[in-house]
Every structure is written in C-alpha cells, then in structure tokens.
Chain length 409, copies 2
Amino acid sequence: MRMSKTFVKTLRDAPKDETARSAQFLIRAGYVHKEMAGVYDFLPLGLKVLENIKNIIRDELSKIDCEELQLTALQNPEPWQKSGRWDENEVDIWFKTELSSGGELGLAPTHEEPITNLMKTYIKSYKDLPVYAYQFQTKFRNELRAKSGIMRTREFLMKDLYSFSADEAEHAEFYHKVEGAYAKIYDRCGLGKDTYETFASGGIFSKFSHEYQTILPVGEDTIYYNSDKSIVLNEEVVVPEVLEEFGVKKEDLESTRAAEVGNIFTIKYKYSEPLGLDFADKDGSKKTVFMGCYGIGVSRVMGVIAEKYADDKGLIWPEEVAPFKYYLVGIGEEGQKTAEEIYAKNPDKILFDDRDARPGEKFADAELIGIPYRVVVSDKTLADGKAELTVRATGETKLVDIDKLDLAR
Amino acid sequence: MRMSKTFVKTLRDAPKDETARSAQFLIRAGYVHKEMAGVYDFLPLGLKVLENIKNIIRDELSKIDCEELQLTALQNPEPWQKSGRWDENEVDIWFKTELSSGGELGLAPTHEEPITNLMKTYIKSYKDLPVYAYQFQTKFRNELRAKSGIMRTREFLMKDLYSFSADEAEHAEFYHKVEGAYAKIYDRCGLGKDTYETFASGGIFSKFSHEYQTILPVGEDTIYYNSDKSIVLNEEVVVPEVLEEFGVKKEDLESTRAAEVGNIFTIKYKYSEPLGLDFADKDGSKKTVFMGCYGIGVSRVMGVIAEKYADDKGLIWPEEVAPFKYYLVGIGEEGQKTAEEIYAKNPDKILFDDRDARPGEKFADAELIGIPYRVVVSDKTLADGKAELTVRATGETKLVDIDKLDLAR
C-alpha cells in the first residue's frame, strides 16, 4: 500500500476521553475511528489486522474439523424465552428493538440459542454427531460502561464455536483439541508467552470453565498463580473449597492483572434440553445433545496485542498480525527510485511511505504505526550497495546488501 | 469439502411460507437457514458463495483505487439529525434501540452520515481529495413485509462505496469508472447478459441516478426499454418530461419485470453540506466536498443469481460464484478409490460426495446443490480409463480421459 494513496493520516491527538494507551495509539496511527463510547470503525489498516487474526483462527479451527457459518444479529425472542435468557433480569446487556410489523427483537449478545435451534434441523441421529460449527460475528452488548478502547466495546467481532456431541466422553476429546488450537492461535498472535489457561467459574452446569488470560497491567481481571504457573486461577474461584481441591494456600499464590482473550465452556444440556435438541442413539433411545462453546473476541485480541506491545513511540505488531511486514522509505533521488523498484515487486507486503514529507516525519510515523521492519534506502546507503533494516520491537538496525534484500518473505 | 464431514444435509422440504423458488432451493440445498421472515443464516456453502461475490467486488474496486474499511451497525443519532434522516417520517425503515446508560441509538440502514462524519477527520485540504472508501457491512432495514427469500431481507450484506471529490468534474470521472467496474462485477457474477444500467429517479439533488436491473420474472421492479435497449428506464421515470428528453414515446417501449442488483448515485452536497465536510481549495477558499454513493446488495445478488439460473431440479451456479467447481462421485470399489485420489489433489475445488448413499441420491443432490461440473468415476468408466463429466447448466455429458482430468483449474 502506498501512503500517498490512502485517505488515512496519522493524527497528533487522540480523543480526550480515550484513556487506554492502545486506543490512543490505534486512533492516532489510523487503525480505528471512534464513533462513540464503545463503538469503533475499523479503517483500512485496522481491518487488515482483524482479517489476519481471523485467518489465524480460521486456519487452526479448520485443522480440528470445524465448519464456518454465519448466524444473524436480529434475534427472534422464542428460543431465548425457552432458555430463560430473554428476561433482562437474567441477561442485562440486551439491545432490544421492534419490528414495524409488530413484535420485539433482540440483537444477539451471543449465539447459543439460535445455533441450538438451527441444529434441530440437522441433528436427528447419532450418525449426525459430532458437529463443530463456528462463525465470526458482530456481537452487541449494552454495557453500562464502555472503556479500555477496543478491549471492551458495545459492538465487537467475536469468533464463537459450538460443539454438539453424543456424550461427555466425545465432548471431552474435542474440548481438549480446542485447548490445543487455542494455544496455537495465541502463539501465532504473539500472545503465547503471557497467556494462561485459567480455571474460572463454571456456572451452575459445570464446576469450572476455562478462560485464556493474558497478563496485562491494565487488564480488567485478576488472576492468581503458583510459583511454576502450573495452577492459574481466576479471582472468582479463589475460595476455600477450590484452593483445597488444588492443594494450595492463598498465601502461596501470587496475583497479577490480566485481560481475558478467550474462553471455553462445557455447557452440557443447558440449551439443548430446554430447546429440545435430541438425537436417536444407536439403540433407538432418545438422548439430549451434549454441548460446549468456545469464544475468542477478535477485536479484543487486537486491542490486547496493541496494549501489550506498545512502547512510548507507538504500536509494535507481531509479524503474523501486522497489516504489512515492511515499512519502506526512500531518501534522495536514487533512494526513491530504488524504493519504487522494491515496492513494485511486493506491494502486498510493504507499506510504502512515498509521501512528500521529511524523513524524520516518516520515521516517527513508522514507529507509531508499528510495522515490524523498517527498510530505508538512501543515496548514502546505496553508494555502498546497502539498505538499512530496523526491527521495530528492538530498535536494532543493520545494513544489508541491497541485492540480497528479499521482501517477499 | 467432504459431504460426509459437513453437518448440512439436503432437505426434502422448504418452509411452507417460503414462496420464492430461489429461497426454497437455497434452503433445501443447505445454503441458508431461515431464522424468521426476512432474516437468514448463511450455512457453510452459502457463506462460500457470499465470499466469492465479495472477492469479485473487492477485486474490481481495488482496480479503481477504492479502500476497504468497516463502519459500525450502532448509530449515534447526531449526524442523522443533522441530515434530517433520523426522523422516522423521513426514513421509515429504522430499527432503533436504547443504551442502558441512556440515549437512543439506531441500527444503520445505510452509512452516508457516519462516513461523511468520519471523513471530517481526514479531509481538510484539496490535497486530501479524492477519497474512495467502501465496506461490506450488514444493513438493517425494518421492512413492513419481507418476501422473495434473500432478495429482500431485514438484515443483509451490502457493499457500499462512497466517493469524495473536489468538484463535479472529478466526481464524474470516478462515477464513470464505477460504471465500468460494475459491468465487470455483474459479468463475473454471471448476470452480465441480462443486467442493464437503468435511469432511475435521482431524488431532489440529481436529475437521475442509475440502477442496475437484472431481468427476472419475479423481480419487484418494472423496467421499460427501446428496441435495441440503448434506453432503459425504471418505471418511476417513465413520465412525459423524461420521455421527451430521451426522444421516445411510451408506446414504443417494451416493459419487463426486473430485480435491482445495484445502484450508483450522485449525492452532491446532500450530506457534506449539513454535516460540514469542507476543504480548503488551492486558492485557500472553503468548499464543500462533492459526494457519490454506490451500492451492491451482496446477499441480494446471490438470491438473484439463484433465482435466475435455477431449473426444476435445483440451483445452477455460474463458475466464479459457485462454492465449489466440481461435484465428485465415486461408484464401485475402484471408482471410490480413484475418487479419493482425485479429491486429495484439489480438496478446495471439489465437493466430494463420499457419503454412504445410492448414486441416484448423490446425483439428485448434485443437481439440487448446483455445482457447475459433476465428475463421476465408476468401475465401468475406469475400465476404459475414463471419467464422466456433466455440465450442470446444460446436462451435457462426456467421457474424458482420467489421465487428462485436471480439477486444479
């Protein structure tokens, strides 16, 4: 992409009400635009980061045989009434609206009810199981307070996966596969090292669920862990019964702030039973489908990555989520000509700062935008047949032979 | 994709209230699932068709320098109040909702106001123009009646492009480029031959807008055309003044039913003026940005293609929008073994019917699902080193050398 061709420009200031550092940088660098509290547009660079995260998730979920579909935002109350979650005393973050032809509708905050209902068309027999279906869908949650930039919003992109199994054993096997896929997803998103699968409250149907928590000073949650981090607990389960079960004492645990980046949940018959999702088993008996659900907030993950890796100069994207791998600047007549040639070879990998601006301004924007590698070709470096390569994360710079420079990788 | 691995199955019946033939087939073949009137889920095959149409649009728009972004569904009333379109007497298809922290919100039925507002951050000077930005976004329209399957729905996927130009001449040049891009898009979607750019009402700001209308017996619109179709008019502009302008008489025009598959619209200052989207021109004077908007209903285009090409056996997808290019069936022991080998080479291009089912059932599903080419390898065809290739659209069948069968293309 040519910087001279995009409408987006880096901004000197972020909105005054934006307190999260990641949100300030994401706005100033031109990744997102704030519509109102908790509601953000994704500009071209931001959309590329979202797509990269989606592609990582899609790739890992396809390896464990998940199928992608897309449900709707508008919700018929009926299935939600059956599960009891239409009631605003049960679910307090509904946005509701009305059909002009009469009748109330909701905007989906999650999709257990509609997908359970949908599967009644397709699951009739043990031969139809298991089913693993997921989507990337905009969720709407009427949060009383929206803060932390794109880490907690009223409209956000979520990957939600649902599993439908014949029994608990079949479910457990898939649940374990999802754990493996999630580990790979957070690794590829650059969050692997500081992301832990934690024990969290399981609600009334399971003892525990699991959350994925990334250590982050501004995170909304607190997690507790033992010395080798083999036991990591969400704050809400640090109670005497649970500590006893894990054989640890509270005083032996350390705590830190963290941000939830995903969850996996055994939901058993919570929705399949009231909605009547049954199947005929081998012996002809009628059984209820055993369910699980598995979420990753895609835009939230983007916010957590932004928050985690920023420094005082701007964003720092891990390679696989970065909108472009290289930020290219040409200085001087020959430098600019050579930069044009380099760009022409790999335009999809390169954010080419071909603007009519001072090198210092371009370097500052390169740091704010946070592309992993900056490549500078100037008349001076070219005199020795070299280009300058700078790693955004470390600031490390070296001269490389221009003939050996390969920006295809 | 293996048929044995997907949860979706073809269905014997469509919902009784579903009158459009395309909707019946799309549901029975497993492309979509009806949530309620005018609200449809997209199942794996349906999502693939949508993605293929999106990719065609994306490809053609990138060639005319358009940038992709993504705005939000939730709408702050403020910019809409400025343009006068918050008022339900002006726009009668709003879904509105409320923030739990207080205040009304809307669900975007279109995005002129928020994108005009957004551009106030980025357009300040003549140097910042022109800007061409588009998105694929879910639109919400509170239609009193929803019918025609996915051709007219309350929640649908739309491509909406907005242009921001310094003056009418710059706008006209881009408008013409969009006409070229749209022609290519409808061609690639298989609708080129029967799709016409029509003159439609321009509203209060322009004499005419243009619509793209595909001739379709169940279409909602009526278009009028002269003998060589050099003049094609929407019904609403077939009035004495317009007929006089084009130098034709009503009795010389023929009429037909058609479905709108897109529109392009010169909106001049309709939103930029009330929202204050100005720029400093070369001479320092303040001018208002000149705008255009250009829509294509992506899910509607899918519905029109489905409707247009179906026969009494099922759907018939044009190659570039089809979810898979080949439908593969193996018959007999050797036939099945060879089919597995063929599938393994190009799994992304092939819908492999590896189910434990009778060939007749597979052939019927192949016709219902409407994949362009059916490939059958049986012990009998293999005895002569052949496979049977059938074109879905024509029913034409021929035997081809198995060694020369290349399903990569």
